[in-house]
Symmetry: C2
Subunit: 286 residues, 2 copies
């Protein structure tokens, strides 16, 4: 069980950082916060998500922390670490919430002061909304929590991340390598968003609003997107995402070729395959 | 209001044909049925969806009908009509449920005996399930009913189709030309299905089941597909569907190019556009 005498620090009180603060405070941990904007910091204070917090001159909060959670985009995390990373005290184990790991985990681990350990993790619980004001709406129970240890990590840090996830309410906790994680996320999340966005951008379909049924709405729900965050995530994982787009594109090309050739057998074969594979997913649901 | 002394005949007691029979019988109309398989005909009889029905030697049912609803695929409808169309009596107004209209409406209207009128329509209420045994689960209230009149149609027939849709429980009833309908359906329905199928076929993703979140599930829900029906619908509307695939593909290409070029501005621009357009849909919902 996580040690309740340890001091937690959340850097970046956004949607996920805010939710971590809320859950940890509720569970009885001491949680401080650092946030760039005064308004959201005040919100977190007013709602008891954090015990204390600062927007600047926060060196004391950093050097007192036993555990830090970075609720920042990868680029911001690396910038922050270059400036303040040296303040982190020996023995501190910290994690992040970032949706991509390649290009982030290795440099940050390399920058860690002696005795400080970065164990990366990804709570797969994004939403269309952002900001701490929506943090309470986030539900961790049905989401995956993925820990991505490297050869630099100790079993103790991995164990800490697992127990953290349990305290936060996750029920599906697993570990993947950095590479496995980013390949998986390129397919199950980023490719889906790329498709939904392209579908909306392909056509000024506003005149078709009244005819759309469930299929179109299902496919485009995730086309409402936080553009700063997703541009960041896409670019940080571009090799994987491009490979997934190409693989998808080649399947769509096959379907198009079958149409051009009036190849009913090929179409039916693809439909049977997709039905079969999708049915396997539904089985996992129940 | 629809005349309750008229005799209705449903040809093809599948999911939609069965639902039409059920709703019309419930509303007090006399409904007969013709179906190829004995089992489903018996189901419709046992559940009171039809007053009487036949699998063959059904010439009398055809020539007695004042209104016919064809619950058949386009190819089957045309074949049936070539063989039995001459039996339909003068004054009969009939419709279909087909998801594509080009290539169907004109030839069938051309084959109509003197005094017989075909007013085409499309109840946009498909489901992953098929067969009359699931007919009762179909919900028409939230779905669109689209009537596609041509210059051959009379205002009386269009009015009949509207009143039929009302009796069936549709609340969104509109008219489009055959060309408008097929272009719209190529985009809001068929392209979505082509994408979902391609996404499932692109990758043997069974090992990723445990990591999939809502986005992947939303995008692939419609990848469970009745392969016979959808091969038929895709091929009957192939010009429109190919054009939509190409337009979508070019948007996805733009996104891919932006990734390759590290063009964050272009990505953010596409994300803003998709967010804006998708938000307009949600407004229509509420």
């Amino acid at each position: 069980m996580l040690d309740k005498t340890k001091r937690y620090l959340i850097v970046g009180l956004g949607l996920l950082g805010g939710k971590y603060a809320l859950e940890l405070s509720k569970a009885g941990f001491h949680v401080d916060g650092i946030n760039r904007s005064e308004g959201h910091l005040q919100y977190a204070l007013d709602h008891g998500y954090i015990a204390s917090g600062k927007t600047h001159d926060f060196e004391d909060l950093v050097s007192q922390a036993d555990h830090i959670i970075f609720g920042l985009y990868p680029t911001a995390l690396i910038d922050w670490f270059k400036t303040y990373g040296h303040l982190i005290k020996p023995g501190c184990i910290f994690t992040d919430v970032s949706g991509v790991k390649t290009g982030l985990v290795e440099p940050v681990q390399a920058m860690c002061p002696e005795g400080v350990e970065f164990i990366a993790s990804h709570p797969m619980a994004g939403r269309e909304t952002s900001s701490v004001e929506h943090a309470a709406e986030v539900s961790f129970a049905p989401a995956n929590f993925i820990i991505t240890p490297t050869e630099k990590n100790t079993p103790e840090a991995v164990q800490w991340a697992k127990e953290l996830a349990e305290v936060l309410g996750f029920r599906h906790i697993c570990t993947l390598t950095v590479q496995e994680h980013d390949k998986m996320i390129g397919y199950v999340s980023q490719l889906c968003h790329a498709i939904a966005v392209s579908l909306m951008c392909a056509n000024d379909n506003s005149s078709l609003c009244e005819y759309t049924g469930d299929s179109f709405r299902d496919l485009t729900r995730i086309a409402r997107i936080n553009e700063k965050m997703w541009a960041e995530l896409f670019l940080w994982n571009k090799e994987n995402l491009i490979a997934e787009i190409d693989q998808f594109d080649s399947a769509l090309d096959q379907l198009r070729d079958a149409l051009v050739a009036d190849d009913r057998d090929k179409l039916e074969e693809m439909f049977r395959l997709s039905t079969q594979r999708r049915a396997a997913f539904d089985k996992k649901d129940s």
